[in-house]
């Protein structure tokens, strides 16, 4: 349970970090909070030759209001999201979900950028990014580009970022004033990665019918999925959470693994989808 040897680099600027990543190629791994990378190194599932420690790049430790979205720097810790007054006021879904990540000591270190970069298919930040169609901002020595969440996550622990690119920030579009939201996960133990998690937003019409609804799920594939095909069927209808859960369950293709059978995952999708829809509608009703 000790990591393999590596060379340690501690760049003092983004330019220096990007130069290192370009020079060292895929022998190097960026290190942010280390709450996933270091366990993988301790178990020797990861054996990078070089670690590029990003923790001194304080310029990427920011949360700011950007018109219709909030921008979160890659080095922001989950605990900072939990405690942010700005997010509590402008995007309460984000802190509500961030506080379900791991445990306190994990959230003090783990970062938003690290979670997006790792692309664990059961993790909270990729799920939120897919739900909200977040924008992931990448930098490399050759320039900057932005990728939509739907295109960013390409598989289990796989993203559209190249080895010489760093995530510098992500932009999460805000909800409408009257839009309700809810998140619910099923975990084997408190603080574990979700077996299945569901997150929904709902905007109601003036007469209380469902206007726009969004649902995203994780734990049913190699990356989080957004179920527009399901939510669109409910536009203009009154809430029928049970039917919604059934249709969501029919729309996913989960897998068997050591943690849960496909049948259990499908059941969880049905129950959790119904619950988040119901709770999001309730929150929308309170806010309207």
């Amino acid at each position: 349970m000790k990591p393999a040897p590596f060379d340690y680099h501690r760049p003092q600027s983004l330019a220096e970090a990007l130069a290192l990543l370009t020079e060292l190629g895929d022998e190097a791994r960026p290190l942010a909070g280390g709450q996933s990378l270091v366990p993988m190194m301790n178990m020797r599932l990861a054996r990078p030759e070089h670690l590029v420690d990003l923790n001194d790049l304080a310029e990427f430790d920011f949360i700011r209001d950007a018109d219709g979205a909030v921008e979160i720097g890659a080095l922001v810790r989950h605990r900072a999201v939990e405690r942010s007054d700005l997010l509590a006021a402008t995007h309460p879904l984000l802190p509500a979900v961030a506080r379900t990540i791991g445990h306190d000591a994990i959230r003090e270190r783990g970062t938003v950028g690290g979670s997006l970069a790792l692309a664990d298919p059961s993790a909270q930040w990729p799920l939120l990014a897919v739900l909200l169609d977040a924008r992931v901002d990448l930098a490399s020595q050759t320039g900057r580009r932005s990728v939509r969440a739907a295109d960013f996550f390409t598989g289990v622990f796989a993203t559209a970022a190249a080895p010489d690119e760093l995530i510098v920030a992500a932009s999460f579009p805000k909800l409408a004033e009257s839009e309700g939201w809810a998140y619910r996960s099923f975990t084997r133990r408190h603080g574990d990665f979700a077996v299945v998690a569901a997150v929904a937003t709902v905007k109601l019409d003036d007469d209380g019918r469902i206007g726009r609804a969004r649902l995203a799920l994780c734990g049913v594939g190699d990356r989080p999925i957004q179920l527009d095909a399901v939510t669109d069927q409910f536009r203009g209808r009154m809430l029928d959470a049970a039917a919604f859960g059934r249709i969501a369950a029919a729309a996913v293709s989960p897998h068997d693994d050591a943690v849960a059978s496909a049948a259990l995952r499908r059941d969880l999708v049905e129950v959790l989808s119904a619950e988040v829809l119901r709770n999001a509608v309730q929150r929308a009703t309170t806010r309207a």
């Binding site: 340690y8 306190d104 003090e108 133990r189």
Partner: protein
């Protein structure tokens, strides 16, 4: 592999020694600084036994490399008792039988000492929520919950 100079500030004291960059903070504390109060359990961030503070905030010392800590202040369990007197939480753990073998105890104390500073009136559910980040295989947790709630009462100035 090449050793590099590691500079660590622990419990207000500066230390310098040579170690490979792969040396975990947990191992550096125990092997190089002989601060063996920090216990090492799972070495992948699950059990919480190795919890210390970095700049006053709880963190798993098995998930941090010692070389990263230059410019940061590390606090370990050795700094919690003052002048040989147990902290109110340590005393409550003793009185309520919040430990048996004691292996998980330093991590639990480090988690809750930091937490109680910001939460003078915790409820039982919140205590259990935080305690889920620390594994204990002896006590069944009930007495730890009782000890934390007792320490909170004492820190608020209530006698019992």
């Amino acid at each position: 592999m090449t050793k590099v100079p590691i500079r660590l500030a622990v419990n207000g004291e500066a230390h310098e020694f040579l170690a490979e960059p792969r040396k975990l903070l947990s191992d550096a504390l125990r092997e190089d600084l002989h601060l063996t109060g920090t216990h090492i359990g799972c070495e992948h961030g699950v059990c919480g036994a190795c919890t210390v503070w970095i700049d006053g905030k709880p963190a798993r010392s098995c998930l941090i490399f010692a070389v990263q800590m230059q410019g940061h202040e590390v606090t370990t369990i050795e700094a919690i008792a003052q002048d040989g007197r147990l902290s109110p939480l340590q005393q409550a753990m003793h009185e309520e039988h919040g430990l048996q073998c004691g292996f998980c105890t330093p991590g639990i104390v480090m988690s809750f000492e930091a937490w109680l500073r910001d939460r003078p009136e915790p409820n039982e559910g919140a205590v259990r929520d935080l305690l889920s980040g620390n594994l204990c295989r002896c006590t069944g947790y009930q007495n730890i919950v009782r000890a934390v709630l007792k320490a909170a009462r004492q820190l608020r100035g209530e006698t019992r």
